[in-house]
């Protein structure tokens, strides 16, 4: 056993010595044979001749001995590698193009895979994260469910107390608080959570402890837990941060714990939820979120069924809830909630880069086939010398593998930078973006892809090349049209396939482009140009009463209006496209119950009296607010078109009275145009405005300011900030952005998908065009004798042009045809990503093929021109 191994190792490493020994052995044998022959009476020459003849071919014997040594494969591999590298170095142009093409294809796939891997394939960073679910509220009578919405505290407690399917549950909601007294004031992203939050997630503090149930009470909730990031960023990462106090929104908190780095996200601080009495009481006030951990053995469907039971129980107890329309509870896995939206886009992206890789493979395969034509002599000689076809195929495959691995290595580097760029530019739209990295799985994926790629583009050329008949090849010198045809058929097939794939990608990109264009044409309902927006939140210590708050905003707006360059200014509780929500319901005087057709009631907006004008929302009937609408004056509201159409279709809404969030009746004094509040794609949700002096919430702590400027809004930022600072120098101003920026951010994800798909589709187009050119150019070279003959027989330059371009265009048309059929079928899969564009949009399906045809024409023209320059005499002589 050991001797066998020793022998193999010797054979591997001391190859030349073993070869020497074998030669010695053979020589010895020959000498003895010659001696024997001499002894038999032959002459020396005869003796030698007889001996060599009976021995047989020495070289062959040596080959067979080598075969028996059993390390053949490894030796062969080593030999193949050396030979391949030599060949690749000798053809730098070919090698460079192939490696680059492969690098682009493989790199794109690696980049997309790392994103897919981190977002879709890795479990969330919690213990047993597949057991975690979110519970949300859905509303909508008549079976059409709305988007997931928050739940209310009373409902949460019922879910918590009545369920049998959850091991633990927790409530949470996000907010922003100002951190002051620590140097630079900063607005932090905060999560208010119940004490069970961390245990539900399965996360433990790395320092200190988590909240205890008593700390959920409003009086005892002066404790916070820091995120790992915040701990390092603002507190130096020191262990004695436990026990330190800090100030959030002018309230004092003690640090009791720090979360591990694995719990990353936007949240920087956790505070106990400390529900207010109002929150505890109002079952209709849904603004909270809930997570739960399923008991072992329970699945989402079972949990959903149980929630449905609990909901009907609640409805039986409180039938008035149904007055606003049907509602229910939904259960979704946390994973689904986090990544569900982006999954489709990522899958489309994966398919796209897969196609690009296939096209790249086709191009490299074509390059290999073209080169193999030049190597036929070499291969023929080796076949004649006794190498088996398998040996040749293995050698060619080694070359392909080397190319692919080089391409893969370069591609991996490209994808590393590509992923960094991708995350940097698209951070907001990628869930779990912090987790995106190139890890070992991506490395394995790249290697496997490279190997499969090499088989894909290498196998066919290897087989086809080894089919050479040695005699035929050697006799005919370097070229022949006979055995070349089979290769050519295959090459043409590759080109057709490339064109088809490129077409599919281009159609997809075209559809996304059109969707995006349509999206940008959507009328927001207000003027988004030259509009500066910002947010101010007032600490309760300085602005404890409603009058103080209302007065502040009034004065702030007055001051801002004096800034040069400012045309008008207004304030609102919820700015369009800001992501903030305040919804509620209202009752119309004289009507019993109103079924709500769209969503949970209406968006309620507390505004300063110039807000609507500043935003450029048109007045359709009645009047805007004015400064006579203050506290104590008759209560008024303005509704928008959507509400007017929904509830006052046949009558004049002006003069009617509604009750909003309380018993006071308010008169409708105006109707304004509808706006897109949530985003360009959202449905029109009814907006109901009231003057902030009369709002039912006793004056807003937090409002958005909208400032219309004459010129570029960002130029006025410091002036506006100065105006506010003059009123209160400690009051920071947040989220300063122009409305155009908000609009742009709201479509950022779409824009990014469009950009990426467009990028890859363009890459595919480029590769396909290069492929067409390459095959046609080579075909011209191979057909030079034939063209020479034609020209000698009287064909004109025009005829030759037509011949060559015709060949190229036929391939292209075939590819376009196949591609169109494929596109018809496949684009249906991306219809969820489209906006107001059909998956079979005729314009796109016509323009893209035209684009391809024109690119193909350019690609065909150059080889065709070269063909016309062929001198028939030279061509025929070379034959």
């Amino acid at each position: 056993m050991l001797t066998r191994l020793k022998l193999r190792l010797r054979a591997l490493f001391f190859k030349s010595r073993m070869e020497e020994e074998l030669s010695e052995e053979v020589r010895f044998h020959l000498e003895r044979e010659i001696e024997q022959n001499l002894a038999r009476g032959m002459s020396p020459e005869e003796a030698r001749a007889a001996a060599s003849r009976s021995f047989g071919g020495v070289a062959q014997v040596q080959e067979r001995c080598r075969d028996e040594r059993g390390v053949r494969l490894l030796e062969e591999l080593w030999h193949n590698l050396r030979h391949s590298s030599r060949m690749l170095l000798k053809n730098p142009g070919f090698t460079a193009i192939s490696v680059l093409t492969l690098a682009l294809g493989i790199g794109a796939n690696s980049a997309v895979f790392s994103v897919v891997n981190s977002i879709l394939l890795q479990p969330l960073p919690y213990r047993d994260s597949d057991r975690l679910v979110t519970v949300y509220q859905i509303s909508g009578a008549s079976g059409k469910p709305s988007a997931p919405e928050p739940i209310s505290a009373p409902n949460y407690f019922d879910y918590r107390d009545q369920n049998t399917v959850f091991e633990s549950v927790s409530l949470f909601t996000g907010t922003n608080l100002n951190l002051t007294g620590q140097g630079e004031p900063e607005q932090l992203s905060v999560l208010r959570v119940s004490a069970s939050y961390f245990s539900t997630l399965g996360v433990e503090a790395v320092l200190g402890r988590t909240f205890s149930p008593e700390e959920e009470q409003p009086r005892r909730d002066g404790v916070v837990i820091l995120s790992h990031n915040l701990w390092h960023r603002r507190f130096g990462g020191v262990p004695n941060v436990i026990g330190r106090t800090l100030t959030l929104d002018d309230k004092s908190y003690t640090v009791i714990g720090v979360m591990p780095a694995s719990l990353y996200g936007e949240t920087e601080i956790w505070v106990p939820i400390a529900l207010s009495p109002l929150e505890m009481k109002l079952r209709e006030w849904n603004h909270l979120s809930m997570i739960a951990r399923l008991k072992p053995g329970i699945n989402v469907e079972q949990a959903q069924a149980e929630m449905n039971v609990i909901v009907s129980r609640i409805n039986r107890q409180y039938p008035q809830l149904l007055a606003r329309g049907g509602w229910g509870a939904g259960v979704k896995s946390l994973y689904e909630q986090s990544v569900g939206e982006i999954r489709r886009a990522l899958l489309v992206l994966s398919a796209t880069v897969g196609f690009v890789l296939l096209i790249a493979c086709a191009n490299v395969a074509n390059l290999l086939l073209a080169r193999s034509a030049a190597r036929r002599k070499e291969i023929a000689i080796r076949l004649a010398l006794g190498a088996g076809r398998g040996r040749i195929v293995r050698q060619l495959l080694t070359e392909s593998a080397l190319l692919a691995l080089l391409g893969g290595g370069l591609g991996l580097m490209l994808s590393f930078w590509g992923v960094k760029l991708l995350v940097a530019f698209n951070r907001e739209n990628l869930p779990r973006w912090q987790e995106i990295r190139l890890d070992s799985r991506v490395l394995v994926f790249t290697i496997v892809t490279s190997v499969l790629t090499s088989l894909l583009f290498g196998l066919a050329p290897a087989f086809l090349s080894s089919k050479i008949h040695p005699v035929v090849a050697l006799k005919e010198g370097g070229r022949s049209s006979a055995s070349g045809f089979r290769r050519f058929g295959f090459r043409n097939l590759l080109v057709v396939a490339e064109v088809a794939l490129a077409l599919v990608l281009l159609v997809g990109a075209g559809l996304l482009l059109k969707s995006f264009a349509r999206l940008m044409e959507v009328d927001l309902g207000f003027r988004s140009d030259n509009l500066l927006t910002m947010q101010i939140s007032l600490p309760s210590s300085k602005y404890g009463t409603p009058e103080q708050r209302r007065a502040f905003f009034e004065r702030a707006l007055e001051q801002i209006r004096t800034v040069p360059g400012v045309i008008s200014a207004g304030a609102v509780s919820n700015l369009p496209l800001s992501g903030s929500m305040t919804g509620g319901g209202f009752t119309i005087e004289g009507r019993a119950k109103i079924p709500v057709e769209q969503g949970t009631g209406t968006d309620l907006r507390s505004t300063s009296h110039q807000y609507l004008q500043t935003m450029g929302i048109p007045l359709l009937r009645g009047r805007y607010f004015n400064d006579r609408d203050r506290d104590g004056a008759p209560a008024v509201v303005i509704i928008d078109e959507t509400l007017a159409r929904a509830y006052f279709r046949d009558e004049d809404p002006l003069g009617k009275r509604v009750a909003v969030e309380g018993p006071q009746w308010r008169e409708i004094v105006g109707v304004v145009g509808r706006i897109k509040y949530e985003g360009l794609e959202s449905d029109d949700k009814g907006q109901l405005y009231f003057p902030h002096a009369q709002d039912p919430w006793s004056g807003m702590f937090r409002m958005f300011l909208a400032v219309r400027t004459a010129a570029e809004p960002m130029n006025s930022v410091s002036a506006v900030q100065g105006a506010i600072r003059r009123l209160d120098k400690d009051l920071p101003v947040y989220r300063i952005k122009t409305m155009e920026q908000l609009v742009s951010n709201s479509v950022a994800q779409r824009r990014f998908s469009m950009f990426l798909l467009g990028l890859f589709a363009s890459l595919a187009l480029l590769l396909a065009t290069v492929g067409i050119y390459g095959v046609l150019a080579h075909s011209v070279v191979e057909r030079t004798p034939e063209i020479g003959v034609r020209m000698a027989l009287g064909a004109s330059k025009g005829d030759v042009l037509r011949l060559v371009i015709g060949q190229g265009m036929v391939q292209t048309l075939a590819g376009i045809g196949a591609g169109l059929i494929a596109a018809f079928g496949l684009t249906r899969l991306m219809s969820a990503l489209l906006f107001q564009v059909k998956a079979t949009d005729p314009l796109t399906f016509v323009l893209i093929p035209l684009l391809l045809l024109s690119m193909a024409f350019v690609a065909c023209y150059l080889p065709a021109r070269r063909a016309t320059k062929i001198d028939p005499l030279v061509a025929l002589r070379a034959e």
Partner: protein, 110 residues
């Protein structure tokens, strides 16, 4: 011309080589000669088969090799049986005897 000479099957050649080596270390030329002589010129081992066979047997671990001085003081590679080779020899001999015995039985009946 060489019709009477039987082409040796690979397995059979292995057996013969192992048997030949049973009497002691021998080099390639002598192995061929001995097989020829002992079989009374019926079996003639072509050098094209002998050396591959020797290398194969060595790769299997049934024989081992060593360089030494031949009768006329020239360098020659001597092969000898290993312990495993001895076992293989008796196994193959057994197989061969059974095989030929069976063939004999069939030939006798017709």
């Amino acid at each position: 011309m060489k019709k009477e000479q039987t082409d040796l099957l690979q397995g059979t050649l292995d057996l013969l080589v192992l048997k030949t080596l049973q009497s002691g270390p021998t080099h390639g030329w002598d192995i061929a000669q001995r097989i020829q002589q002992v079989s009374q010129e019926v079996l003639r081992v072509g050098q094209g088969s002998l050396y591959p066979a020797l290398h194969r047997l060595e790769a299997q671990g049934w024989i081992s090799s060593e360089w030494g001085a031949s009768e006329n003081n020239r360098k020659a590679k001597y092969y000898k049986l290993t312990a495993a080779g001895r076992k293989q020899l008796s196994a193959e001999t057994e197989t061969w005897r059974r095989f030929t015995g069976a063939v004999e039985l069939i030939l006798k009946t017709s």
